[in-house]
Amino acid sequence: MDIFAGLAHGFSVALMPSNLLWCLVGCFLGTIVGILPGLGPAATIAMLLPMTYSMSPTSGIIMLTGIYYGAKYGGSTTSILLNMPGESSSVVTCIDGYQMARKGRAGAALGIAAIASFIAGSFGIIALSVMAPPIAVFALSFSSPEYFALMALGLALVVLLAGDSLVKGLIALLVGLWLTSIGTDLFTSQSRFTFGQTSLLSGLDFMIVAIGVFAITEVLSSISDQEETQVLPVPKGFRNLLPNWEELKACRFAFANGSIVGFIIGVLPGAGASIASFISYGIERAFSRHPEKFGTGVPEGVAAPEGANNADTGGALIPLLTLGIPGGGTTAILLSALVLWGVKPGPLMMTESPDVFWGLVASLYIGNVMLLILNLPMVPLFAQILRIPVYILHPLIFGVSVIGAYSVAGRVFDILMLAGFGALGFAMARLKFPVAPLVLGFVLGDAMERALRQSLMMSQGDLSILISRPISAGMLIFAVGVLFLPLLPRFRRLKEAAS
């Protein structure tokens, strides 16, 4: 199936009334989640995943992905009106967005954020449609050693970019690998790290880990960092949400910058929308004719990061759908969702599950239009959500989390495990350990171990199989190089000191 035939098929799937409805539900929920500080898309998708078991995989992934990219649209609202990012990817939007709002241009800032998100988001989706098929064809030549090397490379990139400390990122990753080892070994039926508990023989369920370290941790952190907030007013009337011609003209390069930077960064595992928005803002400022005005409320300071964090979605879906490698915590949950529904993300997904693959891609086009329509006229309404008292909101998140955990196997034991993982996530957050490598280690650990052991069985225990094949050798060398990158400045300083 070529790209155009695939897209035509995808639109026939995505335009089915039920899929349109789920796309709208996902985009709507995503916008709300993006608006609410302290509740992210990863936590929401993790909480809602068990409720999608009865849905078709196509409808389920359309809705969950809608939450993923919808949150990026919604995140700008709190950045602009509260100076508090609803999402980590909207941190940069605070800088100029909040200043615009203080000058009485809140409507225009929200309008620019929505327009930039739409333009860059559309660019990312088109690039995804064009680039995914050739990458999948290339990946068809992969065997166990290449898959092991690819996962090692993905984890190396994630760890490098996930936090301030490489050591802490690696430790979190290894703890994730340990957690995924708990249960019965698939090759030999040996029970591993079960502490004599029969409930652990089948292993830890990903949903319990994900809901615990994302949703419960977010609530605990939010309660710990109790902050008073004051929402700036949103001007009433659709006209007041539209930027004027001068503002749009000032943003024309920011739209292009955000689109390209966001997509490229999105493809890299671990980089994520937050880094994309920072880089895009930096580039915009570096090439601006008036860099000194950045931070005082310039429209391009809103357009560039908002565009970048939305173009990132299309890029992030490429390694997920074509290689089965998630680039961050949220895409790891999407990967797990696909596996739970019996869909195998990877090079064969396009041919084995064309409805899911092309239906999802087409739904991104539709969802992007839905979000533009939702976000421009309905921003004043969405802003009211910020007034929900936390003493109601936080217990509600607890309640939905408990339901999500209990629906996995109908055991109270799983809810206690959920509380345990909530405490682990909170401790990690306090000690500045990144959570994303733990989740990725958990998601990829099982497949990584299987690929490694299969490779070594093929070579009868000879480790050189991993470096004697050109693709796997190249990826492993790159992975090791990536891990040594942060040490370069230290070597340089030592060399300077020595000379």
């Binding site: 409720m51 400390s165 050591v167 802490k168 690696l170 430790i171 290894l174 703890v175 690998l177 340990w178 080892s181 070994d185 090759f187 030999t188 040996q190 591993r192 790290f193 419960i216 609530v219 605990l220 952190s221 309660i223 710990s224 960092d225 109790q226 008292p389 936390v390 003493y391 109601i392 936080h394 217990p395 509600l396 607890f398 309640g399 408990v402 339901i403 209990y406 629906s407 109908g410 109270v412 809810i415 206690l416 959920l418 509380a419 909530g422 405490a423 909170f426 401790a427 306090r430 000690l431 350990f433 171990e449 490694l452 052991r453 070594l456 069985m457 009868q460 225990g461």
Partner: protein, 156 residues
Amino acid sequence: MTKSIFRDGDVIAGALTAALGTYITVTAARWDVMGPEGPGPGFFPVGYGIALIILSLILIFQRFTAARHTEEDRPFDWAGFRRAAITWVAFTASTALMPTLGFYISFGLLTLFLGLFVFEKPVKSALTAGVLSAVGFYLVFDMALDVSLPAGMLGF
């Protein structure tokens, strides 16, 4: 300063993960690590267990060397930690009560408790939130979606 460094978060975390790494390595080494047909169930855990020990020691070492240069970090927010700890204990206690009281009553009590003691709301507001959220969950998840949740002695 020597006393405070041993109470440092990174040092404690490093010690804990080093202990975890030791446990993983020692336990996994008892299983088949490498057999005639290839690697066994202990192969992968032994590898990451050793890596975990090494990285944990590096984390502790980094903290000791960095401590010579930085006098003190931002003070730990004990009040915030206490709020989060109380919330977590209440959440865990409400979970433990679920087999006896059922999800809805436990959840209503949790909301009431958090409203009163964590968010320090008046009794009337906290009680209203507790009752309405429990009833709301019952209407949505039990009546509308027919989701099965832990039932208590009262049958719901």
